[in-house]
Subunit: 312 residues, 2 copies
């Protein structure tokens, strides 16, 4: 059996740990509810419990370390949580130090979007691409970027904030302080909001109802032939393609993976993304860039965290 | 005396070489006119002549290699020129191989914008910043980017194409095929074009005349109190600041240097750039990023090319 590490994905709802081989196989798993409402000690002891549970499955084999993906913003160099919106109890917590004391083994911490990218680059959509960008479409638009096989951080850990590039400098204000950010147009949340606004303002003919609207409902309507729902996917995909052109102009990655629930819409989303990228991308680059769906789902974060521990 | 390398800047008008110490001092220089109209053999022999001339000044000390900055697009991994607009004779030329045969020493080739950035990071505005972006405002908007002290290339040498990020997805068509590229708003050429267009369409009160308009004339009018000329600097600086927010969101560099003639406008340009960056940038990043003027002028390319040869 190859050497082992533990990868942890600290989410707002669940804390999930996996025991991972050096060849990227998850050989044991454990999860528990994350209870940020009960304070940081409880969140940290939850992580430690999950780690100990999966280590128990190692059958005495050496476990070299633990990687943890946590919500940002955080300081990956020191493993300190800064100010994640969904976990106020963790603000300022020195997670790496606290877990190392508790677990008595090396711990590395990075943000969840970075580690999902690192996981996809190691074992998923980017496994043949040393230059790889992962874009996660969820409540917001997160990103992680691997360059020459290395996870990119920049000077203070805020590289690949792909949701906050501007696609319309005169566009609406973003909570981040900028205007016209990509996230305002192509996150799952944004797609639902923009669909609802258009329903209210333009009263299109559609089977959709504004109440309880989800991207899944828009997808199902589009698949059933609803022209308005299809147009919303066209528009979202086009704007995402426009954002990817900018991102590739800076990063020059060879593979971009789209992850998150919205990416499961398949061709409905990918067709306009790829078409726009081909229309607008740089000659000599666009012909060689692949835009793919992430393949690992929720395991991406666990695998990326384990990979982080391997390299630490 | 420390070890020596030669840095060459192959421009459309002049070919310039410098003999450079490992501590970044240029101890000899030679230049000759570049004659792309006379074909690639002549361009290459011009480079070789400049290199031999400065090596003559080395007084017998060992010269370890030659770095050459050439106009892009090019393939920096193989040292092959692809298709620079201003040197049709060089399209497809294997510059590294040709020069190595001629000079009998190792040659490394990279694009001029990358090497200007590498030079500024080594000896100029970025010398204390391992994470550094250089933006050159000229006919177009070029860029080079150093991450953790290493020049970034991406998968096929097209990283840091900073002029072709979109700031208005609905904006005018760029020759690159994209729309609303930063370059269309903030290059020196674009500033002149946009100023002239506004004079024609809005007949503002100004001392400027459309004929023979230059950024220098706009600058001088602004300094003399011309409100229209000042407004054009305000607008150009604001749009450049908007572009820098996106670029820093991806790269997370700590220092951005602005180079090229337009950057010599000083506070007239930098004030709106910095104000916009502070207004729109990401909390936790914008407070720490410095936006500075390049300090090396034309020497940046020679020094960056020499640094490339040191590392090759």
């Amino acid at each position: 059996m190859s050497a082992l590490t533990v990868g942890v994905d600290l989410g707002g709802t669940n804390t999930r740990a996996g025991l991972v081989t050096d060849t990227g196989e998850i050989v044991a798993r454990f999860r528990c509810p994350t209870r940020p409402d009960l304070g940081s000690d409880r969140v940290i002891s939850g992580i430690a419990t999950c780690v100990r549970q999966v280590i128990r499955e190692a059958g005495g084999a050496e476990v070299r370390g633990v990687g943890v993906g946590a919500p940002g913003p955080l300081d990956p160099f020191n493993g300190v949580i800064i100010s994640p919106e969904n976990m106020p109890c963790m603000h300022g917590v020195r997670l790496k130090d606290r877990l190392e004391s508790s677990l008595e083994m090396p711990v590395a911490v990075d943000n969840d979007a970075n580690l999902a990218a690192f996981g996809e680059q190691w074992q998923g959509a980017g496994r043949k691409a040393p230059h790889f960008l992962c874009v996660t479409l969820g409540t917001g638009v997160g990103g992680g970027w691997v360059c020459n096989g290395e996870l990119m951080h920049g000077f203070n850990g805020n590289a690949a904030e792909v949701g906050h590039i501007t696609i319309d400098w005169n566009g609406p204000r973003c909570p981040c302080g900028n205007r016209g950010c990509l996230e305002l147009y192509v996150s799952a949340t944004a797609m639902v909001r923009r669909t609802r606004e258009r329903m209210e303002n333009e009263s299109p003919r559609t089977v959709l109802t504004a109440d309880g609207l989800t991207t899944r409902a828009i997808f199902e309507a589009a698949e059933a032939g609803d022209a308005f729902a299809r147009a919303m996917f066209e528009e979202t995909g086009t704007l995402l393609g426009i954002g990817l052109v900018s991102l590739v102009s800076v990063t020059n990655v060879e593979v971009v993976a789209l992850c998150g629930g919205l990416a499961r819409a398949g061709e409905r989303l990918f067709a306009p993304v790829r078409r726009t990228f081909k229309e607008r991308g740089t000659v000599g680059v666009k012909e060689r860039v692949q835009i793919l769906a992430g393949t690992l789902g929720d395991d991406a974060g666990i695998l990326g965290a384990a990979k982080l521990a391997i390299g630490a």
